[in-house]
């Protein structure tokens, strides 16, 4: 590798964000170009070309992509076939016998592989792993040939109980390839050898469904880069927050299902760590949604499973992101019972809030912020409009909120914000207090276009200790690409009582899997500062069905006693009481291997020198807590290190506006972040 640039590229729905780190100069640049929806690789290349002259200077490009996510949400994956156990062709469609909503029975579901493309063949493995009926390669080959001839591009092989013995699946995959040489063959146990047939089948089917789409996209991307002389590495961000090689992404595209949002969380983690915050709650507020995730002790919380949409379960470790329908475009309304509600309906970015004047006349959260003076009508973010229509926003609030509730329009606007803030606070409580974390030890980290307007309110509602606003909240995900580590997760179902478990054999197997995974890291050709291995068991009491994660230390030899002790402490932490005399069971083991990529020095974000007074750009009248007041307006990016701005104050920059509530103080740190704390913290400084 000869290049000097490490480039993060995050392709979102509206914009493609570019983050360039010049390792030689120790400098960064950021850029934004419109996303090219038809073929994301065009915007990708244009965005990079706008930043650097010679693509041969690129060392590494790291990419957070929504190609997979969008293909799933819009059902635009490839025509895919399924080869499965006789009697079980409908597992994908039957799900776990659920419905989309608790109340109301108007659900519908279409699986990504339709019933005429699901072929059953005679085969069966029992739960104990014994093969009852071996596959007949000819019947598999026949099924594969039919699927090929019907025009399928990809095929998924999924058999019942394959988690206990993958032999039949492996043999079937070989038989498929013999008649149909195809890179797009997904075998369920190669994705997750984990018990629970629907979840495994769904994850594997979605992988197959995505493979042709994601692979051809990545091929175009690599081709376009090579065509411009770039020969650096390309890495893809996974949903678990780690990156993987392009070849791995082509094989396991389902791991990119939450690639984009995961990158944002990873960036937040690094920025916060550098700024001295180990405990952070990220708050990504866009037009329609509010995404929250938790970083505790410097690590992002992972979820074992998520559903991309009703019935589309993905079971691979992913950064746990809780989404609620509360964004700048969320519509405020009064229900028939006279209760003020915000969302989940959203005006999105088109037609957008009433103040956009593009056809929506119902009030949104952004309209409330505008009417209260929090947003500068002459400086809308995003560059789409020249100015915002304050009168339209006020009319919307008056008609739909103020009059029905008998409030003054400004009071009504404040009420909209209070309800929206309460909803967001609820989402934060869900990931913090409900998981046993003390919010006072956490800082809110707002990013996205509107998050920083609400940081103070969220601190107050949830009792968070501080807020931390990064220097470029609008390109956080692209930065996350640059700082992400490389990470691979493996799982295997064990399903044995602790008393029946051969701990030495288990330890041997886990270590072997870790070594194998480490070798995969090595093949990616990326330099690491160090490699970490992490071992964990999913355990439960005999009779339970939900597991607790039990981290293991393999420093000494693994003994039943050590496992029991680790389980006790994990269970106690989760539920507060142990159950005597009930044996513990080990359901799965999990191994994760992380290659730590070279340290990125956040000091590249250091603010310019200067004087605070020179950064002020006048004042604006605002309304806060029923009182009218005047707030100074500052040019955020010009503020020097050490500047302390007491609230009320408004800090503007091209991609967001930051509101510092009365009683709070914002301070610029040496990385260009703004730390917002309560005013009474002054004495401690």
């Amino acid at each position: 590798m000869t290049g000097r640039y490490v480039i993060g590229v995050d392709v979102g729905g509206t914009f493609t964000d570019i983050f360039v780190w010049d390792e030689v100069a120790g400098a960064v640049r950021t850029g934004k170009v419109p996303s090219t929806k038809e073929d994301q690789s065009q915007g990708f290349i244009q965005g990079i070309a706008a930043q650097i002259g010679d693509m041969a200077d690129i060392a590494t490009v790291i990419h957070g992509t929504t190609v997979g996510t969008n293909a799933l949400l819009e059902r635009k994956g490839a025509k895919t076939g399924l080869i499965t156990s006789a009697g079980f062709g409908d597992v994908l469609e039957m799900r776990r016998r659920d419905r989309p909503r608790t109340w109301g029975l108007w659900g519908q579901f279409e699986p990504v592989i339709s019933r005429d493309l699901r072929w059953e063949i005679p085969e069966r493995t029992h739960a104990d792993g014994t093969v009852h009926t071996a596959i007949n390669p000819e019947s598999v080959a026949d099924a594969a040939a039919i699927l090929r001839d019907t025009g399928c591009q990809a095929v998924c092989v999924f058999f019942i109980n394959s988690y206990a013995n993958a032999a039949n699946e492996a043999a079937a995959a070989e038989a498929v390839r013999a008649v149909w040489p195809n890179a797009y063959v997904t075998v369920s146990t190669e994705i997750i050898p984990e018990i629970r047939e629907f979840e495994r089948a769904s994850t594997a089917a979605l992988n197959a469904y995505l493979q042709p789409v994601v692979s051809s996209y990545l091929d175009r991307l690599e081709g376009a880069l090579a065509g411009r002389g770039a020969d650096g590495d390309v890495l893809i961000v996974q949903s678990n927050g780690g990156v993987m090689a392009v070849e791995t992404a082509k094989r396991f595209p389902v791991r990119t299902a939450l690639s984009g949002p995961a990158a944002g969380v990873i960036a937040a983690r690094s920025i916060a760590k550098a700024a001295g915050f180990e405990n952070v709650i990220t708050c990504d507020m866009g037009g329609t949604s509010f995404d929250v995730s938790l970083i505790a002790d410097g690590e992002a919380a992972l979820a074992a499973q998520t559903a991309i949409d009703f019935g589309m379960a993905v079971r691979t470790p992913m950064i746990e992101i809780t989404t609620i329908g509360a964004g700048g475009g969320s519509i405020a309304w009064v229900d028939a019972g006279g209760i003020l509600q915000v969302g989940p309906e959203s005006a999105g970015s088109d037609p957008g809030p009433a103040c956009y004047g593009l056809g929506n006349d119902r009030p949104t959260v952004t309209d409330a912020n505008l009417v209260l003076g929090r947003i500068n009508a002459d400086r809308p973010i995003g560059g789409k409009l020249d100015r915002l229509d304050v009168a339209a926003a006020e009319a919307a609030i008056r008609t739909h909120i103020a009059e029905p509730l008998g409030l003054d329009p400004l009071d009504a606007a404040e009420a909209v914000l209070r309800v929206a803030n309460a909803k967001m606070a609820g989402a934060i409580r869900l990931v913090s207090i409900e998981r046993g974390h003390d919010p006072a030890k956490f800082a809110a980290m707002p990013f996205g276009g509107s998050g920083a307007l609400h940081a103070g309110a969220l601190m107050h509602d949830v009792g968070l200790g501080a807020a931390l606003v990064p220097r470029f909240p609008g390109v956080t995900s692209a930065l996350g690409c640059v700082v992400a580590d490389m990470r691979h997760d493996r799982v295997q179902t064990v399903n044995r009582l602790l008393g029946d478990l051969d701990c030495a054999a288990l330890e041997f197997e886990m270590r072997a899997v870790a070594e194998e995974t480490e070798a995969l890291l090595g093949r990616a050709g990326v330099g690491f500062e160090r490699i970490d291995q992490h071992f964990e068991l999913d355990m439960l009491y005999l009779g339970q069905t939900h597991t607790v994660a039990v981290p293991l230390s393999l420093d000494g030899p693994l003994s039943p006693d050590a496992v029991q002790k680790a389980f006790d402490s994990a269970y106690l932490r989760a539920y507060g009481r142990l159950l005597k005399a009930i044996p513990a069971r080990v359901l799965n083991y999990r191994v994760s291997v992380t290659g730590r990529r070279p340290h990125f020095d956040m000091r590249v974000f250091a603010p310019p020198e200067g004087r605070v007074e020179n950064c002020q750009r006048g004042t604006r009248q605002i309304r806060f807590d029923g009182a009218d007041m005047s707030a100074p307006v500052y040019e955020r990016l010009d503020l020097p290190e050490g500047a302390a701005i007491p609230g009320p104050a408004l800090l503007e920059q091209p991609d967001t506006t930051i509101f510092i509530d009365p009683g709070l103080v914002g301070r610029i740190d040496r990385f260009g972040n703004i730390t917002i704390t309560r005013g009474d913290a002054d004495a401690a400084d």
Partner: protein, 548 residues
């Protein structure tokens, strides 16, 4: 005190979150899959004096949401007889005639004190795996008295001023075939109540007792207002529907349930007096369960009304004493699910006549509780018990959902791999059931076929279902769905239960297979209006085997 609308909206969310969090705690720490996987549990906050529902979680079992208030009231009355509640008391009970549902549902009820006064009550209900009786898992279709269905616990103190009553727990455990599971579930429910207390402390500390009390009162008034607005939007008049249960499991005679629904301005009358008298077998339900079932049905039709007592204010119920819908001790009630599902079907059928755009075809209409039990080689007892799914009705927006859960629950089915790993059984089929959805402009969803083979020497099988003689109905001209069919081996070949959908003590030997085919959902709208492409599509995918 008057409360500003904003604080009210904020407190509404905070209170619901407390109930949701109690649900989540029990789901995660419960032992038996009926709670952990099927979410057959619920939590809420109840009025200090009346026991009325103030706040319910969004994730609890829908039918419990309606019935819990009666359970809390039963405890309030009991406490009053015993000299009043004290801080730290927790009652436990399952009496189905006084605020319960059936014996498997154990309720824990705890007063929440502020300054020496009861501020509200917290309660937790969960379906335990086994509470004794004649049949493992307690779905005994042949029961003629509740004593054959399990042990009946009147409200007794599990905690007395904070002291754990080990003797009470010992009685409970001694009456279960699966005491370990029962012990685990009991602890999960205690955890959930502890958490509720902690969260209420924090909330009251932050907002003050008066403000929260004001919000609780106001929320009830708003719910009533919302429900009145929904009713007023329906045309005035009376509509009627009748439907049938196959039999009561002991006498093979159909049982009628009937609803005359009257809309009069912003009031509604739900008159069930034309329904059958109480029966010998276990499909009786108590009056409180009848009301709870109506609540669930109305919540399906009017999804926006909140989960509190205000919703029932504008509704008058007419339920005849001595009827199948007002059971008294010791009439058996174990199969209460079948009867409430039929009541929900009646609501869909009547609403379809006055507001077709708000209704849908009937869902599969039976809980299909199937259990297989026996002993392993080493003598250990095993009980596999699960509810099985079926189709949902066609609806104004499209065809019904294939293989959904019952309208009274949000239960998911355990993975078959988990069942096979835990019990000596092997599924030989787990598939959609073609031709089971009712025809219609929008077809009903498909039911399922489950075929299970025994891998141990011997076992016994039990089925408690319905819809074996009367199919799930279509609405607005839609056709009926296929009925339940259960097949089991006999020396002279496969056969079906004499009572169609209910049977006990089917002996099974190694290699024997039982086969359960579940109903689909009823159709919506005239099948003649179904587009040709939709018919072709159904045939191509094998949802329907015959052509139009």
């Amino acid at each position: 005190m008057s409360l500003d609308p904003v604080t009210l909206a904020v407190l509404k969310g905070r209170l619901e979150q407390i109930a949701d969090e109690m649900d989540a705690t029990l789901f995660r720490s419960a032992f038996n899959p009926i709670i952990a996987e099927a979410h057959d549990a619920s939590h809420g906050i109840y009025h200090a004096e009346t026991g009325e529902t103030l706040v319910q979680g969004k994730s609890g079992l829908p039918i419990f949401v309606g019935v819990m208030a009666f359970g809390v009231k039963a405890v309030i009355d009991k406490a009053a007889r015993d000299g009043g509640p004290a801080d730290g008391d927790v009652w436990i009970f399952n009496d189905p005639y006084d605020g319960g549902t059936h014996l498997s549902d154990l309720r824990l009820v705890r007063p929440y004190f502020r300054d020496g006064q009861v501020f509200c009550w917290l309660a937790s209900v969960g379906h335990w795996h086994d509470v004794g009786g004649n049949v493992p898992g307690n779905y005994n279709p042949a029961a003629t008295e509740c004593f054959q269905e399990g042990v009946l616990i009147p409200p007794v103190k599990l905690y007395d001023r904070g002291d754990y009553r080990q003797d009470v727990v010992d009685i409970l455990m001694a009456n279960s075939r699966l005491p370990g599971s029962a012990y685990g579930d009991l602890n999960g429910q205690i955890n959930a109540l502890d958490l509720g207390v902690k969260r209420m402390d924090a909330l009251l500390g932050e907002y003050g007792d008066d403000t929260v009390a004001g919000a609780l009162g106001e929320l009830k008034a708003r719910a009533a207002q919302l429900m009145r607005a929904e009713i007023a939007a329906l045309p005035d008049g009376t509509v009627s529907a009748e439907d049938w249960l196959d039999n009561d499991g002991t006498v093979d005679r159909p049982l009628k349930v009937a609803l005359d629904l009257t809309i009069d301005g912003d009031r509604m009358v739900m008159d069930f007096t034309r329904s059958a008298p109480s029966c010998r077998g276990p499909v009786n339900i108590s009056r409180s369960t009848t009301i709870a079932a109506c609540y669930v049905a109305l919540k399906h039709v009017f999804g926006d009304v909140p989960a509190n007592a205000g919703v029932l204010e504008p509704i008058e119920f007419r339920i005849a004493e001595g009827s199948i819908l007002a059971a008294e001790a010791p009439k058996p009630v174990g199969g209460y699910t079948e009867t409430i599902l039929r009541l929900i079907d009646l609501v869909f059928q009547t609403v379809a006549q006055i507001a077709p755009e708000r209704s849908n075809g009937c869902a599969y209409g039976t809980i299909n509780a199937l259990s297989i039990a026996g002993h392993r080689q080493d003598g250990r007892r095993w009980v596999m018990f699960s509810f099985f799914g079926g189709g949902h009705g066609g609806h104004p927006q499209g065809d019904g959902l294939n293989h959904g859960n019952a309208p009274i629950s949000t239960a998911t089915i355990p993975p078959l791999e988990i069942l096979e790993a835990a019990y000596p059984v092997k599924f030989t089929q787990w598939a959609l059931r073609p031709d089971s959805g009712g025809q219609g402009r929008h077809r009903g969803g498909l039911g399922a076929i489950y075929e299970i083979e025994l891998l141990e020497e011997e076992a016994t099988c039990f089925l408690f279902g319905d819809r074996g003689k009367f199919p799930p109905r279509g609405v607005v001209g839609g056709g009926d769905a296929a009925m339940t069919r259960f097949t089991f081996p006999r020396p002279d070949g496969p056969t079906h239960p004499p009572m169609a959908s209910k049977i006990v003590d089917v002996p099974l030997k190694r290699g024997d297979r039982v086969r359960l085919e579940t109903p689909g959902g009823g159709g919506y709208g005239d099948p003649a209006d179904r587009p040709g492409e939709a018919w072709d599509h159904d045939q191509a995918l094998g949802y329907v085997s015959r052509s139009r």
